[in-house]
Every structure is written in C-alpha cells, then in structure tokens.
C-alpha cells in the first residue's frame, strides 16, 4: 500500500497542479492581465490606423466592448486577428455575422503579425484604456498672423481717431449753422414785431474777422490741411485696384497655420494643380477627406468647421462611411487673389519652369489663418526663402509683376524648359538664323559683352518678360 501511495502521490500532485494551472489559464481571459503600456504601443503600431478603443468608427468599427462580444472565444479571436479569412472559414456564427456586416463596407483586415501574447497586451489596453492620461499640452509654436499682431500690441489699425475728428468738425459746423439760423429767425421776428434787431456780428462774421486778424496762422493751417487732403486723395486714388491684405470671410474657417506650420503639409498637396495648370486650384472636398476622414475634431474650432466638409461631401462621421446617393454641395470659397480679366497669369510657368517658392508671391502663408493676400512688406520680411527677390510695388499690381520680371534671373542651363525651347529653335535653319541674330544683337549683359551660349543667366525681361503680349492678349 505504502509503495503504491509513494508511487502515485507525486503523479497525483503533479497532475492536480497541471490541472489547476490549465484551468486558471482558461478562466483568465486574454482581455485582462496583459501589460497596458506594451498594449498601447502595439495598438498604436498595428491597429490605430483603422480602430479606436472607443466605440468611434475610424476606418473600421471601434473596439469598445470587444471583451463582452467575444466572451469565451479567445482562441477564435486570436485567429480572427492573425488571419481573419481563416477565422471566417471556421463557420462560427458570430464571425459570419461580422463578415456580413462589415467586410463589404470596410474590407478585410490584413493578417496581423502579432503573437497571442501580444494580442493579450493589446486587448488589455483596449479594455482598460491608458487610465485617462491627460494629453500633454503642447506649446503652440504656430501662431497666426493675427495672434502675432496682437502679441506685438499692434492689434487693429487705429483709424477711429480720424472719424472722431471728422464727426466733431461736422457737429461743430452744424451747431454754428443752427445758432446762425436761430439768430436770423429771431431777428426776422423782432423786425416784424418792431423790436430792436441784434446788430452784432454773427458767428460766421466774427470767425471771419478772427481769421483775418490771425491770417498767417490760418493760412498756414489751411495750407497744411489742404496738403493733407491732397496727399490723402492721392493715396486713395492709388489704392484703386490694389487689394493688398484682402482677407474675405470664408465658408469654412480654414487655418493655413495649423495645416502648413504645424503639420508641414506641402502647398502643392492641396493646391496640386499649381504645378501643371494655370490655376493653383482650390482643393475639392475629397482632398480634405484624405486626412479628415480620420481627424474629426480640430484644436481650435472643434467639430464645427470640419463638420462643414462632411456636410458638403456627404460623409457620416459616426459610421466612417460616405452616404450613398448624397447630393454633394459646393463649398463656396471666396476668391482672394483677383487679377483683372485682361491679365493672363499661369501658375505652372512660375512653379514648374521657374521653380519659384510659393512664398515669393504669397508671403508667409504658414502664419495666415484664412487666406489673405500678402502685402509686399510681409513678403520682403521673410527670411526662410532662399533667393527671395525683394520688391517694392504692392502685390498683384502690374508694377509688382514687371519689377520681378526685371530682377528675376533665369538660369537657362539648368532649365529643361529653355533647353527644349533652344532645341526647337536650333532644329531648323530659320530658327538658327533667328536665334543667332537675336543673341548677337539683343542680349548683352551688363558689361556689354554679347551672349553666345546657354550657360548664361538672363533676366526674365531679356527673354521677353516685358513683352505686352506675354500677359495681355
């Protein structure tokens, strides 16, 4: 007997221990007991591009409550994550319902290269979250133009004073006239009634007499006011057709500062037509959606402004899908940069051929909130634009254009465009003759030496940039 117990007791203990261990592992679900920190890392690396741990739909359903929905099916869930199609092939009714419900909308999830242990970490993170750790408040280094102006204490232009003066002068004139009128009426009544008339000089007469007595002072002041008005009038007339700093309201409060400064999105991502078209192009709503399908809330205006994109394109942020047969609405942006109809301007010529930086003409756009026509002072003040050509005339005026065409230098040798033009010229005899005579007679650099090769830097003007027909036809 003793021998028997001696033989079997260790085995019994071992098997019991194994049994307990085994049952413990089955009782503890994979939704708990993992490492939340590791889980968060893994989640952000593998899952976060489509899933959220809340019930919010990103590019696929949110994962909140996954421990309830998959209760007791840990093996299957691991399979579903590692290889969704294999899990679907098991014929489990819940997996089947998921496939029917979601795959047509969101597509199959790719096979995820995560081990069962890592899935445990991830699912623990999904269940428990990261304990609501507050996001670290980041210092806003992307101030808008308005904020910088306010910080510099320059706020809005103070043009209130001149109106107070104008209104004061008008009120004074009205008061004096009214007093004169009342005096005349009183005198007329007195004359009718035979009472004595107030013969003393009226206000106007006394003023005239005063002015005559102080004629030097009055004439100097008058001259000053006259000059001031003439200069003001000249300035007002010169402002006609000058739209510097024009900043119309826009249907969506779009901030260039947060898109360009904070995230450094290339100008040509949204204005993609600038490289190959006359127009820089206003992005259509689908371009906004390339990011805002996932980013549903902004730091400044919350969901309000981004919801306008969804409204225009017909996107349901709750399900993360586009509404079918939605009648899309245009976003009616207001045009900021207006050239007269009789001016031809082509973006691609300046962006692709000349290789200009957008900031050369559009200024520090990364500091603007809604679009604004840069002033020439702002453009000149930039120090982050290599080869910035400093100009003096107001932006979008003809003086500004031709000033730049005079100063800007074209490196013919490094431009495929001019190489192509040159090849076209030299491909036939007439062109060659024309080119030679043009080079010999017309193109002389500052020292008067004739220009005889493409290895020369010319100004746009020398290449015909001042020909009327280049821009006006």
């Amino acid at each position: 007997m003793k021998r028997l117990s001696e033989r079997f007791l260790p085995r019994f203990i071992l098997s019991t221990a194994l049994f307990i261990c085994f049952s413990l592992t089955t009782w503890a679900s994979i939704h708990e007991g993992g490492d939340v920190v590791k889980g968060k890392q893994l989640f952000n690396a593998n899952c976060a591009s489509c899933h959220k741990i809340t019930d919010e739909v990103l590019a696929a359903p949110g994962l909140k409550g996954i421990d309830q929905r998959w209760k007791g099916k840990d093996e299957l869930l691991i399979k579903w994550i590692q290889n969704p199609k294999a899990a679907a092939a098991t014929g489990d009714p819940y997996v089947k319902s998921l496939v029917e419900k979601y795959v047509a909308t969101y597509g199959w999830m790719a096979n995820q290269a995560v081990s069962a242990e890592e899935i445990g970490h991830i699912l623990t993170y999904v269940k428990e979250g990261d304990g609501g750790s507050a996001p670290v408040a980041e210092e806003n280094t992307c101030l808008t133009y308005e904020e910088m102006q306010a910080a510099a204490g320059q706020g809005k232009e103070n043009d209130g004073l001149i109106w107070i003066i104008i209104i004061g002068v008008i009120l004074a004139i009205i008061g004096v006239s009214a007093a004169n009128i009342s005096r005349s009426l009183k005198n007329a009544m007195n004359e009718r009634d035979g009472k004595p008339i107030d013969e003393s000089a009226g206000y106007w007469e006394s003023a005239k007499a005063w002015m005559w007595r102080h004629k030097v002072f009055v004439s100097l002041t008058g001259l000053f006011i006259f000059c001031y008005l003439v200069v003001g009038l000249y300035g007002a007339l010169m402002d006609i057709g000058v739209y510097e700093a024009y900043k119309p309201e826009q249907p969506i409060w779009f901030s260039h500062a947060s898109h360009v400064c904070k995230y450094e999105i290339d100008c040509q991502y949204c204005h993609s037509a600038a490289a190959e078209s006359k127009h820089a192009g206003i992005p259509s709503a689908n371009v906004c959606m390339n990011c805002h399908k996932g980013i549903k809330e902004g730091p400044v205006s919350g969901k309000k402004e981004i919801a306008k994109i969804y409204e225009a394109i017909g996107f349901d942020p709750a399900t993360g899908t586009y509404i079918e047969n939605y009648e899309q609405k245009p976003i009616e942006w207001n045009k900021v940069h207006n050239l007269p109809d009789h001016v031809y301007f082509n973006h691609s010529q300046h962006v692709t051929v000349a290789g200009l930086d957008c900031k050369q003409c559009h200024g520090p756009v990364q500091t603007y909130s809604v679009g604004r026509q840069a002033t020439v002072e702002e453009i000149n003040a930039q120090d982050d634009v290599p080869g910035l050509i400093k100009l003096t005339k107001p932006t979008l005026t003809m003086g500004w254009c031709i000033e730049c065409h005079n100063k800007a230098e074209v490196d013919l040798a490094s431009s495929a465009y001019y190489e192509e033009m040159h090849n076209r010229f030299t491909s036939n005899e007439l062109g060659q003759r024309f080119l030679r005579s043009y080079l010999e007679e017309n193109l002389k650099k500052g020292d008067g030496a004739p220009v005889d090769s493409l290895k020369t830097i010319l100004s746009v003007k020398q290449l015909g940039g001042w020909e009327c027909g280049k821009c006006h036809y």
Partner: protein, 233 residues
C-alpha cells in the same frame, strides 16, 4: 446760408464715400474699370453669382443663366488628351474600389515602368509633396501628422508593408486604403506609378538609391531575382 448747407452736404458725402472704401473686410476695395475684371467667357474659380462683391450685374447673370458651379467631376470614363507619350497612363483603371479588387490588384496590376533613375527621382519628388506629411521621409509612418498624434498607426513600408505587391500599392494610392483617402484626383497615373517605384525602394530600406550606368536602380544583393524581373519587364 445755402453755402453752409452745401458745405455740410459735401463733407457728409465725402465722409460717406470714404467710409464705403475700407470698413467691410469682404470688400476687396475699389476696382478701376470693373468690367475689365469680369470675363464674359467662363473662367475657372470666378464667382458667377454668390458673392455680392465679386458679382456680375444682374442683367449679365440673367443673360447667361449662371448658377454656382464648383467641384464638378469630368464625365465618367473621360480620357484626357495629353499627348502620345502619356497615352498609356490616361486609360481608365480597370479595377473597382472593392475588397475583392484590392486582392486582384496584387496579381493583375503590374508596373509599366522600369526602376530607372528618372522614374525613381520623380517618384521621390511626388512622394515628398504628397505622402511625406503622413508616411514620413523614409516611409516609417513617422510624418508630422503621425508624430503629432493626429493620425496614429501609419504602417512602416520597411517592416509591416515590406511584401506589399506593387499592384496593391498602386491600388491603394488610387482608391485609398483604410484611413488613407484616394489620391487619383491629385496625381496622375504616371505619377502614381513613379511614387510606387519610390515606395518599392523604401520597402527595401533604400533611402539613397544608387543607379548603374544604364540608369537602372541597383538593388541590394538580397533580392537579385526581383532585379532581373524588373529589368526584363
């Protein structure tokens, strides 16, 4: 007396006239010859009737029957005419934006381009403009949009998407994948294939591509079979 009234009237008129110039931020200011600003021919991005300031006269609008037109797509199946060299790149893409067609793209869609210096450098240029802010300079999914926390989990080309076939890359750029939107309206088919060539470099961890004397990409020794197929294509 009447002279005084005239003075008042003139000053008031001047004041009103001046105040009309600058107070409304939605007004661009005074135009010389306003009719020279308005093209009778239809122009892109000109407002034909929604903004009071950028407006045609009512009679002109009535004559033309303008309605606000924006965000119009070309008719389905439109083939742009952009010259003979671009002909292979303007034909409609045969696959649809469905999960099944995404799988089909892996085998059915092959790059028409060789891995040449020209295409890879162009692709890199387009990648810098179009993809970098999310996918990062070396394609590790570490663009500023990702690192600043706006969109998380952008996959790394060099690890997670290392074996993604070029057809699927192209399909994803064309229609989008997951959270990424479609980029077919931003870059044409040639540019998409060029970006695909550059992404293929990033998949192999090549950030500084080297080219042989024929301008072909020199691939790392680990994948010589791939190089021969690309060259023979």
């Amino acid at each position: 007396m009447s002279r005084t009234l005239y003075t008042i009237a003139t000053i008031l008129a001047v004041a009103v006239g001046l105040s009309a110039c600058k107070t409304d931020p939605n007004s661009p200011g005074v135009e010389y010859m306003p009719d020279m600003y308005r093209s009778p021919a239809l122009e892109a991005y000109v407002d034909y009737g929604t903004n009071d300031y950028m407006d045609f006269t009512q009679s002109m609008k009535d004559k033309a029957g303008f309605v606000p037109v924006q965000s119009r797509k070309p008719a389905p199946g439109t083939i742009p005419y952009v010259g003979a060299e671009m002909a292979p790149f303007v034909m409609p893409y045969p696959l649809k934006n469905t999960p099944d067609d995404y799988e089909r793209a892996a085998t059915e869609i092959k790059s028409p381009l060789l891995s040449t210096r020209e295409h890879i450098e162009k692709g890199r240029e387009v990648y810098t403009k179009m993809c970098l802010h999310c996918h990062g300079e070396a394609g590790h999914g570490d663009g500023l949009i990702s690192t600043k926390g706006a969109i998380a989990g952008i996959p790394d080309y060099a690890t997670k998407l290392k074996d993604l076939p070029e057809g699927k890359i192209f399909h994803s750029i064309t229609y989008g994948k997951g959270l990424m939107g479609q980029h077919a309206s931003l870059i044409n088919k040639l540019q998409r294939w060029q970006v695909t060539e550059w992404v293929k470099c990033l998949q192999q961890g090549i950030t500084d591509p080297k080219f042989d004397e024929n301008g072909m990409l020199i691939k790392p020794a680990a994948a010589p079979a791939e190089a021969t197929t690309a060259a023979s294509r």
